[in-house]
Symmetry: C2
Subunit: 394 residues, 2 copies
């Protein structure tokens, strides 16, 4: 018989997906340009020319046997070395190739990091608001995801709530900064306080507690700032990265785990990840994509549109009276709805062809998420719709 | 603390990998051309020009947003439709796009098929000789791999042994034809008998028993024959395919699960696989590789070298008195060693710079595997070494 466990999941479609499908269907009726679709977190700018050029050069100049050959399960050694060199220079770290593990995007990275850092029955703490897929990412390892309520004023960490969440089963804390869905970027102070608390909990419970730091939005940061690098603050950090957003290649499934050289067992965690791969069908990310990203380290798509869009929306939303934390990065913003029930609020917006996602599933009931990875021209046109929606309904 | 479970696996290096590393090191000493390395099952012919051309065309002509965008977790709909059409035409099946699930190679395919067809505690039967990674592929799902001893005369299935292996916990049978490591191709008669037995066991135990058919060597078949298609014989078949061998792109991680339209729950298994992906970090195989393979369906590398090599080795080995079953396909051959202890036998061969892999880990103690995916010129030169090794040692 087919697995009842996975069969039971078939009903559970993601709210985001349902709304995106509605937007597409509605677009077919009235023209997609007339639907203000803020549902999906899909990059809206093309991959940089450097990436395409690297791919074409590999295909035309490299020996196809080497180019398309098996990579080591940890990743192609030269690719890992280049990543170590790049991260060391950029973040003043001391990675060697042995600390890198190449993955199929951030999903692959977290799948390995979580299995390396936990055993079945352990708890992994994450902090709301959070990416809803974390529930699957963690619970399917045999560990249990424990959610700390959001500090809804700043979307930094509520450390009173966090402190209460630790117990002897805590094996890891999973953070995401800059954050999907809130757009908040954890400050140095937040990361320092987090590290202090985690060190104290390691002492209290007498075992390692790993920080799994999910950083796909690291390059999308506003106001000329840069994102603090969490591994700087805490030794037991497993940094999970994806090129999906920075290079606009979400379909190509490429990222990595970088193990802080100061972490416990730092020299073997990447090798362990290679063993973990054997049981989950991962093996290695595609060779040509590994090689291509390693040739464009530090290059990104033109990401400036996201800041332009954020400012347009933030200014409009605040002037309309929304309670909203100004994003520090990403392509998301998460205002408070104008009524308690954010699902009802988003349904009313839908009647105005304004597609907003209630943030209940992100652990922030009463809020909604807008993914502004769309053309600026469309954001500008949407402002009038937002105004008339608010005026009519509230 | 890092996972003791995966940490414990670190010692367990694959015998094949150890021998391949020895061959490389020895090659550095005496010249790799002087090491007759039959250890690794890595394609020795380049990817076809059609594949490279398809990749370059996609990169130069397609909109990068679409090209590198997220695929559905089941795979890009047009790619799945093309696969269904191709398989229907070639194998006279009735697949629709809904029966296809695109994966990162056969490892990804089996990771999903096994989870779809079993629950923790179930048993999955495989038939020796078998690919040693099956132990990890199956046992890490929570099910248990049960190994049926080999019919060492023909390397077809020993049906007496197989019959004894079934019980009420049997959820699936995992086969690999043409077979790594034996090179045997299951005959129509073998597949028919297998299907009859599985149907009878389904009746006896009152539940579905799935056939997970791992077919990466489907296109490497000798003597002008074609491989019988297991799904033809048994409704509850999940066909797992990889392009690694047929297109010589093992590093690019691309394959699929094709669900027999006559299987129980045929219409939902691919969707279930999409749910399974969420917990193991799979998401989808790389978009550009999905698109490229879908443009070259039916194309293969020039695979003729494998048959040439097989004939050279088979003739030499039989004339030297080895007991050996003539392969029907793949790039492997598995003769009986000239002494009971095949590890001792392979060690002696190693002293002649002849790298053979003892088949104990493949479930065929007393045999050894040769992977003849190397240049024919080297196979020819190796024959004299094989002769002198046998003459000196036996």
């Amino acid at each position: 018989m087919v697995s009842e466990d996975f069969k039971a999941m078939l009903g559970g479609k993601s709210v985001i997906r349902v709304l995106a499908e509605y937007a597409t269907a509605r677009g077919a009726e009235i023209g997609y340009e007339n639907v203000f679709d803020y549902s999906l977190g899909n990059p809206s700018v093309p991959a940089p020319k450097e990436f395409t050029d690297a791919m074409i050069r590999l295909l035309t100049e490299e020996d196809p046997m080497t180019l398309h050959g098996y990579s080591q399960s940890q990743g192609i050694p030269a690719v890992r070395q280049k990543h170590a060199d790049y991260l060391n220079k950029r973040f003043n770290m001391n990675y060697t190739a042995e600390h890198l593990f190449m993955t199929t995007g951030a999903a692959g990275a977290i799948a390995h990091a979580a299995r390396a850092a936990t055993k079945p029955g352990d708890e992994v703490i994450t902090i709301a608001p959070f990416f809803p897929e974390y529930v699957q990412y963690i619970n399917r390892t045999g560990a249990v995801l424990k959610i700390v309520p959001a500090d809804t004023k700043t979307f930094q960490i509520d450390f009173n709530e966090l402190e209460n969440a630790f117990n002897e089963k805590t094996a890891a804390v999973l953070i995401n900064t800059p954050n999907n869905p809130s757009g908040a970027m954890y400050t140095e102070e937040t990361l320092k306080t987090l590290a202090d608390m985690m060190r104290s909990m390691q002492s209290k419970y007498g075992h390692d507690i790993f920080l799994i730091s999910d950083e796909p939005y690291r390059e999308i940061v506003f106001d000329g700032k840069t994102a603090p690098y969490p591994a700087h603050f805490y030794d037991n950090t497993l940094t999970c990265y994806s090129y999906s957003k920075s290079l606009s290649v979400p379909g190509e499934r490429i990222g990595y785990v970088a193990v802080n050289p100061k972490a416990t067992d730092a020299d073997i965690i990447s090798v362990m990840c290679g063993q973990i791969s054997r049981g989950i069908g991962h093996n290695c990310p595609p060779s040509i994509i590994q090689l291509a990203v390693s040739e464009v380290l530090g290059v990104t798509s033109d990401l400036s549109v996201y800041e332009t869009n954020m400012n347009l929306l933030y200014d409009e939303l605040t002037s309309l009276g929304f309670e909203v934390t100004r994003p520090g990065g990403t392509f998301y913003i998460m205002p408070k709805a104008l009524e308690k029930d954010s699902i009802a609020f988003c349904n009313k917006a839908k009647d105005h062809d304004l597609i907003l996602v209630p943030a209940d599933n992100f652990g922030a009931p009463g809020f909604f998420r807008m993914a502004y990875c769309i053309d600026t021209e469309k954001v500008e046109r949407s402002l009038e719709t937002i105004r008339s929606f608010v005026k009519e309904c509230y």
